[in-house]
């Protein structure tokens, strides 16, 4: 086997040195009754070319975004990925390293995290960002835990119904056996209902969580929500499933959010059937010491030379064990590298322009669909690259009809929102040409081909 370098001579010499006659003796610490007495019932080893062919055949049974006209979003976005990213992340000094426990030989990993933390702070308008969580949904759940921990006596958390369903479900899983009460804030015209929010807020509420943009692509009035939330002494968590919006719309930090979490997949990470991505996590200075996850800080060596280290580790599980701020023991470093390279390439001007292109494309699609007989754009406010349309025919049948024309038209909302049984969530990015959008509009209207 090409990954196993041992020759028979090596094995014999090693056994001799150890002082045993066969490898099996090394396992004598395992009682007989704990041994597997038969070979594993798995296939035999495949050669490299057989492995490749086998997996290529599986891959070909799938439908990549590149071979369809796709309008799917809902928490995973089809954006163009510059070639530079895969080139750089393929350097194996990066991807074959582990957690930078030894800073002297991990300055590449550490500096990249420090830069990532800075980029996330700039984008979200916050003071401190960590080295990332698993994804947007789990980061959102950890944010909820932080707010309850920090608020001490307050045990209630209000979740906007417009928060992506997968985020709400993940929050519920994380809170399942903790003393935390979750309550929903209802919808009004596709955004968080402020009157309902106001009626739910009391001195037991630790946090209010809203999507920005929310699951329907709508831009919430964060500033007003922040005012209401702060007046009740609670923290506002803004959860950002599509962070490209932050290059165009006011940052959650500017609007008054206390915690900003979100999913970074939009920034150069392949869709990869929904994972891995990254959860970013940013807070105000006051919450720095209750943050979950890894943090990198700047320091110097004994010659006064700048260097970077993992820091404030006394929050973490390997030191605090059951009293840690989280059980997390990794970050999504390979993926934050993709995000950082993406943001560095696009920079101040490119990211804004890209966001404007996404906005304009979606606005065009929205307008065209609104003109179709029987279709309407469901919600009235501003949205970013995603929007909901109300359809005149059952959504499942409509999607099927469009599929046959090579179009993945969007996501049905009926499963998660009974009141939106006729709702289709359509996502348009810079990857959708005008021709594709026109084809979608034509097909929705009942046209063929």
């Amino acid at each position: 086997m090409r990954y196993l370098p041992h020759t028979d001579v090596d094995v014999q010499q090693m056994l001799d040195r150890i002082g045993v006659s066969e490898i099996d003796t090394l396992f004598s610490g395992i009682p007989e009754e704990c041994r597997l007495k038969r070979p594993l019932d798995l296939n035999g080893a495949k050669s490299e070319s057989e492995t490749l062919i086998f997996l290529q055949e599986l891959a070909e049974k799938n439908s990549p975004a590149s071979s369809w006209d796709t309008f799917l979003g809902g928490g995973a976005y089809n954006h163009f990925i510059p070639a530079v990213i895969d080139h750089l992340i393929s350097r194996s000094e990066f991807y074959t390293a582990y957690t930078p426990y030894q800073p002297e030989i991990s300055q590449g990993t550490l500096q990249a995290i420090f830069e990532f933390q800075t980029l996330i702070c700039q984008l979200t308008g916050m003071d401190v960002a960590n080295a990332s969580m698993y994804d947007g949904a789990s980061a959102c759940a950890e944010a909820v835990l932080l707010t309850v921990r920090a608020a001490r006596k307050r045990k209630k958390v209000l979740l906007s119904q417009a928060l992506p369903p997968q985020y709400r479900e993940t929050v519920a899983t994380y809170c399942r056996y903790l003393d935390i009460e979750l309550a929903d804030i209802s919808l009004q015209d596709g955004v968080t209902n402020q009157a309902d929010l106001q009626s739910l807020l009391d001195d037991q509420v630790a946090a209010v969580v809203v999507g920005y943009p929310n699951y329907f692509g709508q831009i919430e009035d964060l500033a007003t929500i922040a005012e209401l939330t702060h007046a009740a002494g609670a923290r506002l968590v803004a959860a950002v499933p599509e962070p490209l919006a932050l290059a165009l719309f006011k940052s959650p930090g500017e609007a008054g959010a206390d915690i900003v979490v979100g999913e970074g997949q939009s920034f150069g990470i392949p869709l990869s059937y929904g994972g891995p991505g990254i959860g970013f996590f940013a807070v105000r200075k006051k919450d720095m010491r209750v943050l979950p996850g890894r943090l990198v800080g700047e320091t110097t060596d004994k010659d006064g030379k700048r260097g970077f280290v993992l820091t404030l580790a006394t929050r973490e599980q390997h030191i605090r064990r059951e009293k840690a701020t989280s059980n997390i023991c990794s970050n999504q470093w390979m993926c934050i590298l993709m995000v950082s390279i993406y943001l560095a390439l696009h920079g101040k001007q490119g990211l804004r322009q890209l966001a404007e292109i996404n906005y304009a494309k979606a606005a065009y699609a929205k307008e065209k669909i609104a003109q179709l007989d029987g279709f309407s754009v469901t919600f009235s406010g501003e949205s970013f690259n995603e929007f909901v349309v109300t359809c005149p025919e059952p959504v499942a049948a409509l999607k099927k009809r469009l599929e046959q024309q090579g179009l993945l038209a969007g996501i049905s909302l009926g499963r998660d929102y009974s009141e939106l049984e006729d709702g289709l969530l359509i996502c348009v990015t810079e990857q959708n040409s005008r021709k594709q959008i026109d084809r979608l509009v034509h097909a929705l209207a009942g046209g063929k081909g």
Binding site: R91, Y95, G108, Q111, A112, Y134, F249, E254, L295, G350
Partner: protein, 485 residues
């Protein structure tokens, strides 16, 4: 041996933000083919202050240089104990990038992604065979999230049986994630001393009907198989509890012993350890969980099932603990792990475990005597020395830093906590005898240096990009981002 003449080109590199030049760009966007549109100006932000402006060349050179300051498995030997830093096969990287895997949207109708679901189903089956568990969830994003999922299922099962139990027993050799994951499920942690191997008596002393579960790592973090595990599982079961196994050290066990056969009820896998997926500088990992029959109703949703020769995501599980993250797990990592299993085959996996154990025992044989070995029992895939044989006030940290000067990534240090100044070495099976010999020669030379020239250890590393960094200052006055001065 160390060649002190060669230092290579270790150059400095400013931060992205410090290199930024107004007006410089590193992108090319396709022009707008629809009318331009802008949102309500009251909602629009100002430009992002101090966001970088760089050319493509700037960015490529920046990250290329950063990579040269790193040390990975492809750079050399990386014997980080309990982390299983085995070789990351390149075919795995290639297949994960196939467009049919890399560019599929998670909301695509299931009928159009049958290949992805089939891959996940096959991987569930293979991990089931390796561990003996009848059901596997691939959803957890990492080992720690796998622990959380497993402990949630344990609690859900107890509650479904009308039981409110409050305690989880964890040996003192455990990873910190074990108590942290238990606490997330609302459990109180009872730590039990293990003296190398956990005894049935030690568990019996704290076992009662308020204990929801015992969490063990097997083999444990000293590299020892928990010899009494069968009796311990029986004891816990007699009291109505369940046994969780941390699968961090499964690399010693493939084809040799299966957790479910010996009484374990739940276990997580670390695909980035045992199944060769890259550690990626700290992630993404992947932490599938296997469970016995009675826990199947509580699995997180969704998981993949096969029906009439097609595959689908199952959501209809009334007793599920719920969802752990968006979508279906770290699919890109699952592809790599499956590619590894295909390449190794059943026999190859067993051979990998055998050679991993051979390698660790060879290192033990070569270093025992010069380095203090507190636990003398037969050890498996890793060996843990203490700092007690070191001379002249040299400590484990000094040995680790000196190893850097010899060109190696240091082992795990100061863990497990039960060993004084632990030096925890896990070579894995992908290292040759020559590599192990050179590494042992280096450690023996360092032991000599500690006697004759301890300053070499105290000053180390001298050949890395930076010398020892002031971690105290970093924590006292945290600077966690760049800001324009």
């Amino acid at each position: 041996m160390m060649n002190t003449e060669s230092r290579g080109l270790v150059l400095d590199e400013n931060l992205l933000f410090e290199q930024s030049q107004p007006g410089r760009v590193g992108y090319s966007l396709t022009g707008l083919d629809v009318p331009s549109a802008t949102p309500d100006s009251r909602l629009v932000r100002e430009e992002i202050t101090d966001f970088p402006e760089l050319s493509e060349v700037d960015v490529v050179r920046h990250y290329t240089r950063l990579s040269t300051w790193n040390y990975g498995v492809d750079s050399g030997f990386y014997p980080l104990g309990s982390c299983t830093m085995k070789y990351n096969p390149k075919i795995n990287e290639a297949v994960a990038r196939l467009p049919g895997f890399a560019h599929i949207h998670p909301q695509t109708p299931e009928a159009l992604n049958q290949g992805a679901l089939e891959l996940m189903y096959n991987l569930q089956q293979d991990l089931g065979e390796i561990s003996g568990f009848p059901a596997i969830t691939l959803q957890p994003a990492a080992g720690a999230q796998g622990e959380f999922a497993g402990m949630l299922m344990i609690r859900a099962w107890h509650e479904a049986n009308g039981q409110k139990r409050h305690k989880v027993i964890i040996p003192d050799t455990a990873h910190g994630t074990n108590p942290a994951s238990s606490a997330l499920c609302g459990y109180d942690v009872i730590t039990v001393a293990s003296d190398g191997i956990l005894s049935k008596e030690a568990v019996a002393a704290v076992m009662d009907d308020d204990v929801a579960a015992l969490m063990v790592t097997n083999p444990n973090t000293l590299g020892l198989f928990e010899a009494d595990i069968r009796e311990i599982c029986e004891l816990v079961h007699q009291h109505g509890g369940l046994v969780y196994s941390d699968g961090a050290n499964l690399n010693a066990m493939m084809g040799i012993s299966r957790p479910s056969d010996i009484g374990i009820d739940v276990m997580h896998f670390n695909l980035h350890k045992t199944f060769s997926t890259p550690h990626g500088g700290g992630g993404p990992g992947s932490g599938p969980v296997g469970v016995v029959d009675k826990l199947i109703p509580f699995l997180p949703v969704p998981y993949v099932v096969r029906e009439d020769n097609s595959y689908k995501l199952e959501y209809n599980c009334p007793q599920t603990i719920g969802r752990l993250k968006s979508f279906y797990g770290h699919f890109g990592i699952l592809v790599r792990a499956y590619s590894y299993i295909l390449s190794m085959g059943g026999e190859g996996l067993k051979r990998a475990s055998e050679l991993a154990v051979l390698n660790a025992n060879y290192i033990r044989a070569r270093l025992e005597g010069e380095y203090d070995l507190p636990n003398k029992q037969r050890s498996l895939h890793e060996v843990v020395f203490s700092e007690d044989a070191l001379q002249n006030d040299c400590h484990t940290l000094d040995v680790a830093k000196r190893l850097i000067d010899y060109g190696y990534h240091p082992p795990t240090i100061y863990f497990p906590l039960v060993v004084h100044g632990a030096l925890m070495i896990e070579p894995t099976e992908t290292e040759s005898k020559q590599t192990l010999d050179e590494f042992c020669d280096a450690l023996l030379a360092i032991a000599e240096e500690s006697k004759n020239n301890p300053e070499l250890l105290k000053q180390a590393p001298v050949r890395a990009k930076v010398q020892r960094l002031d971690e105290t200052a970093a924590a006292r006055k945290p600077k966690l981002r760049w800001e324009r001065v």
